[in-house]
Symmetry: C2
Subunit: 345 residues, 2 copies
Amino acid sequence: MKDKIIIAIDAMGGENSPEKIIEGLSIFLSKNKNLNNCFFNLYGDEKLILEKMSKFKLSNSNIKIFNTLSVVSDEETPLTAIKNSKNSSMWNSINSQISDGADISLSAGNTGVLFVISRMLLKTIEEVSKPALAGLWPNKKGVSVVLDLGANIECNEKNLIDFSEMGSALFKSLFKTQKPKVALLNIGSEEIKGTESIKKAYTKLKEVSSYGDFDFNGYVEADKIFEGDSNVIVADGFTGNIALKTAEGTSKFLTGALKESLKENFLSRFSLLFSYFSLKKFKDKLDPRKYNGAIFLGLKGPVVKSHGSTDAVGFYHSIDLCYNIIQGDLMSQIKKNLSHIDGNK
Amino acid sequence: MKDKIIIAIDAMGGENSPEKIIEGLSIFLSKNKNLNNCFFNLYGDEKLILEKMSKFKLSNSNIKIFNTLSVVSDEETPLTAIKNSKNSSMWNSINSQISDGADISLSAGNTGVLFVISRMLLKTIEEVSKPALAGLWPNKKGVSVVLDLGANIECNEKNLIDFSEMGSALFKSLFKTQKPKVALLNIGSEEIKGTESIKKAYTKLKEVSSYGDFDFNGYVEADKIFEGDSNVIVADGFTGNIALKTAEGTSKFLTGALKESLKENFLSRFSLLFSYFSLKKFKDKLDPRKYNGAIFLGLKGPVVKSHGSTDAVGFYHSIDLCYNIIQGDLMSQIKKNLSHIDGNK
């Protein structure tokens, strides 16, 4: 166990902040009562934060507030962010890794801006061609890491290999699996299918896989992601984003249609009484808030992005993710993995 | 109403054929008792076909059997298909549009081979840069056409514009909508997002849209496909295939988890009694067999691909789709739309 973990939080990003941020933090602390090694740097409007802390009965023995009044708006674009966002709660929470000893930064604010500022302040790891955005997906056997979810629209084979190494480092740090199984997302499982970058990455990954950081599972088709046979699913950011959003849309569409059906007549409404606990368990198991938190991989410090529209429970899961990432020593895992590829070996 | 429609069917393709083919045909005929203008050319083992026809009590007044003993195997690759598949039931059912007066061809066999043979025998329409594979997707408001589902891994803007014209022609022919709404699948809704091809297609589509074949809805993100605000969703074949398979996988994963939950204890199992009809209605509405049938667009004759693993009900829906495509005059709609773009205007 680490001696001291400091999580820097942008307390103002996303809908209904700082209320949900502070409530999320209070959930985390109440679930981890004996955690003595975890501290929080909060960036935002001190008055508001203190108000919410008193509402949720949070003492501040392990919380430091850095009064920051400027906030990045949802309308801000990555193009003008560097100029306009300096000293905002988001900026300062990322900079916290440089100036205030934080190990990781968390924000529910504007994704594009978060990515640009993180990249500028924390810098990309030398061996990494492009940083990537990774997420956690539920599957039949548990959870898998999927990346890139949209940071890089076009990717070459070197990018895809870096993503494989970083994704398996993340999986390893979260789930203590020695050799995660990595697969490339493709439109067929035969070796000859796919784009040039994917085919080249396939050949190279078979080789890299022999260094022992992960087992290469070959190609996975999108309908098999949920089978859970691979722990890490690698794609370019365009493809990963399409898969992520299609899954979200399908899930919303199906659960909406199901809800409507079950409410449509007396008998089926009656049945809800009997199936209440089972349906609740179903809902809980697949609750998207449990998987809330995308991780920017490839920078010299880790940054987690929470959904802007999530609630306190969702934000709690992002805090938990931050804690587990540092506890699992993500940065050392990434460095170790990267040392095995290319000229670094 | 057309005087005469001839549908050519590969009676041997896919699992459990020709049984499911003949049973599917018998469902179609029993649901369309007064249809006097529809005829079928069946290609396959005559003895087997007659056996199944007698099993399902089909008279052959509107059915012509062309005895064809060779069958394309599932293992056949597109590379060797032209050499190995000549005079197979698949080959002959496509060729039926040239030699035996058929208006459309339908097969549940090997997709890659079907695509290669169709392209070779029927030829691509002069104005079309690349043929595409289109499918029907359920959504909150009805059904949308999505293409390309995997025929072309990489696409430029000209391809995407052709897909838009052909997709809206298909939607028009099936649903009698004068101006379908077309959207480009992308990872954001802002004009500056996406790959170069997508951005160029966006600019061009705004222009083409003014000719009146369709309304251009701009970009659609993958989680919004199911909202049903666009009738035609256009993507390159890689992206379309990822979206299709992700939706299939998510749907399978969710319904599987739901089923397990509802069966897990006595009370919830009991609840199934009361919700039986509602759940059945839910299942019926989203039954993938209803949307069975992908359409090759851009060849000089239309070809429909049924899922290989579907059953008789699924195959019936493919036959129904073929009938509606010809009844709605797809080929004229495509020609009309294509005449409006580029130099053809």
